[in-house]
Amino acid sequence: MSAPATAPDASVTGPAGPLADPRAGGRVGSSLREFAPPVLTAFLVLALWEGAVRGFGIRPILLPTPSSIVVAFLGDLPRLADAIWTTGRAAILGFFIGGAAGFTAGAVAARFTWLREGVLPMGVAFGAIPIVATAPIFNLWFSALSVWSNASVVALVVFFPMLVNTITGLSSVAPGHAELVRSLAMPRWSVFTKLQVPTALPFVFGALRLGAALAVIAAVVADFFGGFRSSSGFFIKTLMATADYTGAWATVLALCLFGLTLYGLVALAERRVVPEQG
């Protein structure tokens, strides 16, 4: 494809998303200077929010105050924890299954050129389908009250970016390196483990970071389609229906914290496994 020389490689930053780009560096800055502006902005926004709602007398159905949300959050902690667990275990389960399956399929596809050329565009295209729409089908197959129905949706959602990025990463070995290992008469499996996999790791972790974000989203959406009454998504809908708006916001807050934690864990793992490559 003769796209302009400056255009990014769509198969990496394509439907998998910019979060999956190994160059995007989802790494959170560690120095204090990097923390200061965002934290200050946060305080500013929260203060404005609180002030505006109270000052303009905005109804809680539109926008509750941050303080009331926090109160509701702390007050309902046990039920919230249960809701997060119900949703979260599907997210985590699906994340690992989808990630492992995506990596394995990608490794197999990268091995054979004909397979790679067929699978890669398909993986990119399938990323265009709203996979979360398949949640009711999985409810049908696995029964709405099983963790597997939600976990399947999550696994599918995580699978495709992982597949695309694994293939891209494993294939991005520099020609100089390829010649080197030939001159050393390195056996195929060694080339895979010692050269291709380390080369692919930044790409794989890009997909994992994206997958962490997508997993929580997919799990919540799967909740929306029905299932456990105590699941977060279902919970939010119920709370909205019963006019408990602060409660709904508090649940959203809990989910956000969960999502950030999961993402943070993956980012931490990436720091340890993928050394800075200058």
């Binding site: 010649e179 030939r182 001159s183 050393l184 008469a185 060694s190």
Partner: protein
């Protein structure tokens, strides 16, 4: 005598023997031809190349860009298959020699693995050969001492300069003590000053390890300074124009670059190349 000096003497003996063609050549090419592509648009990179390299030699392949010297080196390394002709390395085919790891290769780019430390980069071939951890450690330490980079064993490649990375690359190529070292313009990407310094380093390493070196370069002064024999190649299609003996004595140093005989040889090589361009 130190083991290094013993090896130099052995080398000297082998060299004399080679000149009497008593000992088998370590590398031998016969009528090697390489064509890329087919039909009228085919590019003939090498045409009927025949020459020998004796054990202990330091042979430079020199010629203008596109003369096929890198291609020739790669056919010896079994990274490219010749269209015609035969190559023998250490008594077996080039293919078997590669699988048996009879040579180490140094490329123009250092091609170190960025995710490994310097020491683990040097150990890469040793891992492939299934050596134990202790043995690997011992050898990599030895090699890093040889290239004078012991202090950098636990650093990463991106913390090293270009010249240092190439030294690691050389350490890696020699870590399993092959009898043959193939080098493809290893100092081409470095500045002149670093290059001259590394030339001296390379000669020292050569004398310490008694390897045979096949060195591809496009720098005439470098070729004359380093080698005991120069193979001059013509522009495409690559043919051997001349084999020039460099009779400057070893060990060589910076003074060698100022000797009259050095300039004579540089001129001789240059004229050979110029005649080929004109003719």
């Amino acid at each position: 005598m130190t083991s290094g000096q013993e090896q130099i003497v052995e080398q000297g003996v082998a060299r004399e023997s080679a000149q009497e063609t008593v000992v088998d050549p370590i590398v031998s090419t016969r009528h090697v031809t390489k064509r890329f592509g087919t039909g009228p648009e085919a590019v003939v990179a090498l045409s009927d190349v025949t020459f020998d390299i004796a054990a202990g030699d330091f042979v430079s392949l020199i010629g203008p860009s596109g003369c096929g010297k890198s291609t020739l080196l790669r056919t010896i390394a079994d990274l490219i298959e010749p269209t015609d002709g035969e190559i023998t390395v250490n008594g077996t085919s080039a293919h078997d020699a590669r699988l048996a790891r009879h040579y180490g290769m140094v490329f123009q780019q250092a091609t170190l693995f960025n995710w490994r430390t310097v020491r683990r980069n040097v150990e890469l071939p040793l891992e492939t050969m299934g050596m134990s951890k202790q043995e690997r450690g011992r050898r990599s330490r030895e090699m890093l001492e040889l290239v004078e980079l012991s202090d950098f064993a636990n650093k990463r490649p991106n913390q090293l300069s270009g010249g240092m990375q190439q030294r690691v690359s050389i350490a890696r190529a020699l870590s399993f003590q092959p009898s043959l070292l193939l080098m493809d313009e290893p100092f081409g990407a470095l500045d002149e000053i670093t290059r001259e310094r590394l030339n001296l380093e390379l000669l020292r390493i050569w004398e310490a390890t008694a390897t045979t070196v096949v060195f591809v370069t496009h720098s005439i002064p470098e070729a004359v300074f380093l080698s005991n024999r120069i193979v001059v190649m013509s522009p495409r299609p690559g043919r051997i124009l001349a084999e020039i003996e460099v009779d400057l004595p070893y060990p060589r140093d910076d003074d060698t670059r100022e000797q009259d005989r050095y300039f004579e040889l540089v001129t001789e090589v240059r004229e050979t190349l110029r005649r080929a361009e004109a003719g």
